[in-house]
């Protein structure tokens, strides 16, 4: 086979310039700037900038609060990723078998995806309001003295519920597509071999869904780590107080609200490293166990 070759060696690079420049300007430059800023201590207005070496990292990691925030982020991410995947999978499996009105049923499950995070946050504030919230009243009916903004774990519960609710539709869409791509012949063969629906699901359907599931797991972890910012911000209503804080939100609090750019940059570099490790681990160790056809 004849190779297609450009006659001028520089030409392909020229074609790459638009994409590379976008990556440079929007990804590498800010990242490099964050790394640089993390070694400096600067007054908020940017007059005096002192090189402090690793002091920002030391101050960040030695603070008692940072460990608490990291611990909460871990719990939060696990809960959000698990529940949004599990509920979406259940709904997808059930929706897959619906015969009548399947389309409207699916649309009903998907529309939540179109809600912007701030709107979701506002709805949450109304739902969980201390005095007027229907959820609060419901919890009180069951003897749970739910107080958003006062009790740390009650506020965390509200954050998890809203974040999960917001993420279910996209997981649902992917799971449904994944289910529908499983060949009919395989399902029919399984139906003959094994009459038990649950065990058939775990031995046949679930493994065949693994590529979708793996992809969604990564998407959901990054969602819980980063994209829940809007929900956290709205539930805080401008006052962090003793409300749960995720690592990303703390970067914002210290850097923007507090004006400590060095400390905040150090935290974002730590976060960058975490994401890097996470990506490597996921692709190295987990992908091997997933069967793509």
């Amino acid at each position: 086979m004849k190779k297609v070759q450009f006659s001028r060696p520089l030409f392909p690079y020229l074609l790459l310039v638009p994409q590379l420049s976008i990556i440079m300007i929007f990804f590498y430059w800010p990242a490099a700037e964050a790394i640089r800023a993390s070694f400096y201590l600067e007054d908020p207005f940017g007059f005096g900038s002192t090189f402090v070496g690793l002091d920002n990292y030391r101050d960040t990691l030695s603070g008692s609060e940072y460990g608490r925030v990291a611990w909460f982020t871990l719990i939060f991410t696990t809960l959000v990723a698990f529940f949004s995947l599990a509920i979406a999978l259940l709904l997808a499996v059930k929706a897959d078998t619906v015969l009548r009105g399947a389309r409207s049923y699916r649309v009903a499950l998907m529309w939540v995806y179109a809600i912007a995070p701030p709107v979701a946050g506002l709805m949450a504030i109304l739902l969980f309001d201390q005095r007027l919230g229907p959820f609060t009243h419901m919890a009180q009916f069951f003897g749970w003295d739910f107080t958003l903004g006062v009790n740390y774990w009650d506020t965390a519960t509200a954050m998890v519920i809203v974040s999960v609710w917001k993420q279910i539709p996209i997981n649902f869409i992917f799971f449904l597509a994944g289910l529908q791509s499983i060949p009919r012949s395989v399902r029919e063969a399984a139906l003959i071999d094994n009459p038990n629906g649950l065990s058939r699901f775990f031995s046949v359907t679930f493994p065949l869904l693994a590529p979708t599931g793996f992809f969604l797991l990564i998407i959901n972890i990054t969602y819980a780590l980063f994209d829940t910012f809007g929900v956290v911000d709205l539930i805080h209503k401008g006052e962090p107080g003793n409300n749960p804080v995720t690592l990303v939100y703390k970067v914002f609090l210290d850097g923007f609200r507090g004006g400590d750019l060095g400390g905040s940059s150090a935290q974002s570099v730590i976060l960058m490293v975490l994401v890097l490790i996470l990506t490597v681990v996921q692709f190295r160790f987990m992908e091997r166990r997933v069967h793509y056809n």
Binding site: P44, Q130, G149, G238, G241, N242, L253, G258, D260
Partner: protein, 433 residues
């Protein structure tokens, strides 16, 4: 219409706006939402109509924290407004950044406007001044925490507003609880129960003359009097004698506005809004004090915010800013602002005008803030100046909330605040070096 005529028309349109824009336009970023924002806009209209040379454009930028952040970002990008409103907790940040602002005092005198610090009421004079007493920020919405009370509730319970916390605990609160009310709530623990706790009881809040002197400051928060106060607060909450609804200002104010809570510690600047929302007769009085701590309670700090003229603007715009400051501090404008919002008048002339107009005969509660600010001063009641203070307040709120929900002991909570605050202060001192 062909292309040429479209171009002609737009050229004329541009020429038209250019002709109208001969006035020097200055931008004013503020954090006054709701009713307060409307009053700011009214003042801007009044200023613009009062003369022909300048045009003030007020821009609402969100909360105090958001406004300061927006101002910092804009300054770093060289796009700063002419005037920015910065709140008490942000004072150290903006005053510490030498070269970010033109001291209000210099701005006025350089533009030929007379300035005398003694024109300003005593509680206001020092807070936004530098070490030498030069006024850097122009006090704008000055408030102080006061105690509002629902008159119906007090009557029903047969009590009067408590002068001391001892009276609150033994007489007022149990009677109000008996009458079916939650006796009290407050909206800002760092401001009301910390900063002003130190001021009201004349206790030092930080080393270095409460942080006003140069050098590294240490917070003096780990103090038995304030620890006893918070211990009592938790006991009251547990006994349903006090309502705690989280850190949010509104979450704690709402139960009072709706008549469930009988007394509310809020800002004197809340008066205007309350007059419109509360459907019961209410009044206000001084913040209670602990008789066990002091027998001579002193004045409180001013809170609220000041206006700062930002550096890097052309001369004619600075002149416009100075003229606006002159307009703003005039007795008439101050009286109007005071009446509409409840913020205290910042000059003696405005205070006198309100008095001679008989305003306080009609609305005695409106005078409480300024009276409390002009109570006898103590050594430690002029104010405080600490860097990264927004974060320090956040640490206080977090630890107080942890203590109130029973997660940490009082000693641990205050030890954490002290440690983290001192760490932040040390970091801030380094940025100033």
């Amino acid at each position: 219409m062909n292309l040429k005529s479209v171009l002609m028309a737009s050229a004329f349109a541009f020429a038209g706006t250019a002709a109208l824009a001969e006035k020097v336009e200055i931008e004013f970023w503020h954090a006054m939402g709701g009713r307060l924002g409307e009053v700011v806009n009214e003042i801007a209209v009044d200023f613009n109509e009062s003369q022909d040379d300048y045009k003030l454009v007020p821009v609402f930028k969100g909360t105090y924290e958001e406004t300061l952040t927006a101002g910092i970002a804009a300054f770093r990008a060289g796009e700063q407004p002419n005037i920015i409103q910065v709140f008490d907790a942000g004072a150290a940040t903006i005053i510490g950044a030498k070269g970010a602002v033109i001291p209000a005092q210099d701005l006025l005198t350089n533009n030929g406007i007379a300035f005398d610090a003694n024109d300003y009421i005593s509680g206001v004079r020092n807070f936004y001044a530098d070490t030498e007493g030069k006024m850097i920020g122009m006090p704008f919405n000055s408030s102080t925490p006061i105690m509002y009370f629902n008159e119906d509730a007090m009557e029903k319970a047969g009590v009067t507003p408590p002068k001391t916390w001892e009276e609150f605990a033994s007489v007022t609160a149990p009677a109000l609880k008996e009458a079916g009310y939650t006796p009290m709530s407050q909206s800002h623990m760092p401001w009301i129960f910390t900063e002003n706790f130190f001021s009201r009881h004349n206790l030092p809040f930080a080393t270095n003359n409460n942080g006003y002197a140069e050098g590294e400051t240490k917070i003096l928060i780990n103090n038995d009097a304030i620890k006893a106060h918070f211990t009592s607060m938790k006991e009251w909450i547990d006994a349903d004698l006090f309502g705690y609804y989280g850190t949010g200002w509104g979450d704690n104010a709402k139960p009072f506005e709706q008549g469930d809570v009988a007394m509310w510690l809020g800002s004197s600047g809340s008066f205007g809004g309350l007059s419109k929302t509360a459907e019961f007769p209410f009044s206000a009085t001084y913040l209670p004090y602990w008789e066990g701590v002091t027998s001579e309670p002193t004045n409180t700090f001013i809170g609220g915010a000041a206006l700062f003229a930002m550096e890097g603007q052309p001369e004619d715009e600075n002149k416009a800013t100075a003229e606006f400051f002159r307009f703003l501090t005039s007795a008439q404008t101050q009286y109007f602002w005071h009446k509409e919002t409840g913020y205290v008048p910042i000059t003696n002339a405005a205070y006198d005008l309100a008095k001679t107009d008989g305003y306080y005969d009609r609305a005695p509660a409106a005078e409480v803030g300024i009276q409390q600010l002009t109570l006898p001063e103590g050594e430690w009641t002029k104010g405080y100046r600490m860097g990264f203070y927004v974060q320090i307040r956040d640490v206080m709120n977090r630890e107080y909330a942890k203590f109130l929900s029973g997660d940490v002991s009082i000693d641990d909570a205050f030890a954490t605040i002290e440690e983290e605050a001192n760490k932040l202060l040390a970091r801030f001192a380094k940025t100033q070096g």
